[in-house]
Symmetry: C2
Subunit: 287 residues, 2 copies
């Protein structure tokens, strides 16, 4: 990893974890079990890619990260809720998450469903309570986040389409739609929200929109490639880019998307070098 | 039912249903199955008590209902999501809801979990998109709703405590806490949000807060009494007022709470007669 990005993560990850820890109800707050489950699944050493992207985009326009930390943490709560619900027996039925028992294994199914619900609810409550940005901007952010997480082209749509594709295999176009909604929308929204709250001018937000679109899709294509090459079988039965396009072409597609993402930010010059380095990092990352 | 309240419901229910129908994605929007599930469980002829209370409180201060309808509908979406998740096999495992197959029976468990998630997400998105009230007020509303629906004293807390009470029976104080959080918080928030967005002055909001607290708790006590007397067995194994206090004392408690609710609004005079009639209606309602 480039040393500037590495230094960024060294600062960002502890700041995100500390903010999450502070925003999540304590393990001793009643009812304890659900708060233990929320903390267990959220404070689990995740890579914090979404909140880091949000902060990196914010830092293009503003030096002081403090106001964006609760917003970035709310995005991570939504990501965390989605993993808890995706792991449930009725969904992907995964017993493990990052090498530990998944939430419903560590607690039980009822608690896992409710912990996910509570993280989604808390994410919006945290955003609604934020006093660091103008209220109309926060409403815009919540609207964008609702769309990115929702059932019309957002994360929930992606999960439904993904489940359906296990029965009726997806074609190329459908696979792209699944990936854009399942992962791309929230990844993209993370960047957009950071830039928007940082105060990016309208014209720059257009380019950032293209950047968001491309890295969002590229992120999931790369995830597919990693799953196909690390022998995890995590994607068994799932619609994936390597499954439809083969590994080599999938790598080309990911690389092409990242090149388009970089091009969209070319007019910004040095200000966006952290976001560009993020592209390198995402392209070269391992699981 | 009093004729003025009856006339109110005749106007309010169709307006709420029409607004919900318009705000929910259409059955033909992709992915169709989740949108069919969201509509199936929300547009199901429910009594619309929460959104009606919200509109009734709003109408104390404003004549034109139109701006409050999306807000009231968002509250109903949250109620609807909670019923879908409560009915799941891992939770209350109910096959029927209002005489029809519950969501996971009509569709499947994965769709039911995701339809609930999507309704919760959409509720906040609808509120975030509303342009009819000042942005800072909408943030206050979303914060209040998040708290009422959440895991710290809100609906999710109530559901967790309720499940725990099936194993370790609740005492009087715990039962009250369960009922306040499981049902009272969202019922109370419905009234508070209506009055707040209607423009209730600070001093009146204090009395309305007391009203909210009392009818919220009373609502669930009455629900318990109805469950105990209509032979539905819906509450089997659950902590209930009749189970702890007996039927007669439960009726006294409900009546006393409703009397306190009415007293809190006594200084308002004729302006609040609809809310007072609502108390009569809730006290005399059947399932």
């Amino acid at each position: 990893m480039n040393s500037e990005l590495s230094a960024f993560f060294d600062r960002a990850r502890p700041a995100i974890d500390a903010t999450l820890s502070q925003l999540l109800p304590s393990e001793t707050a009643s009812p304890q079990r659900i708060h233990q489950a929320m903390r267990y699944s959220t404070l689990d050493g995740g890579k914090r890619i979404r909140p880091s992207l949000c902060i990196a985009a914010f830092s293009v326009y503003r030096d002081d990260w403090k106001p964006i930390l609760p917003v970035a943490s709310a995005v991570e709560m939504i990501h965390s809720y989605s993993l808890i619900h995706d792991d449930l027996p009725a969904m992907d039925d995964d017993d493990l998450r990052r090498g530990k028992p998944s939430c419903h294994k560590q607690f039980d199914e009822a608690i896992a469903i409710l912990a996910g619900d509570a993280l989604l609810t808390l994410a919006f409550e945290v955003l609604a309570r934020s006093k660091d940005f103008p209220a109309d901007r926060m409403l815009q952010v919540m609207s964008a986040l609702g769309r990115a997480a929702g059932s019309c082209g957002g994360m929930i749509a992606g999960q439904v389409l993904d489940i359906e594709a296990e029965v009726t295999p997806a074609n190329e176009g459908q696979l792209e739609a699944i990936h854009r909604s399942k992962t791309g929308a929230l990844i993209g929204a993370s960047v957009w929200i950071g830039a928007y709250l940082g105060g990016a001018p309208e014209l720059e937000l257009e380019n950032i929109g293209i950047f968001c679109d491309r890295i969002g899709l590229a992120f999931q294509v790369i995830d597919d490639i990693l799953d196909a090459t690390d022998g995890s079988n995590r994607d068994e039965g799932k619609a994936t880019y390597p499954g439809i396009h083969g590994l080599e072409k999938s790598r080309d597609i990911a690389h092409h998307l990242m090149a388009e993402a970089r091009s969209a930010l070319a007019p910004f010059g040095q200000r966006v070098r952290l976001l560009l380095e993020f592209c390198d990092y995402l392209e070269k990352r391992t699981h």
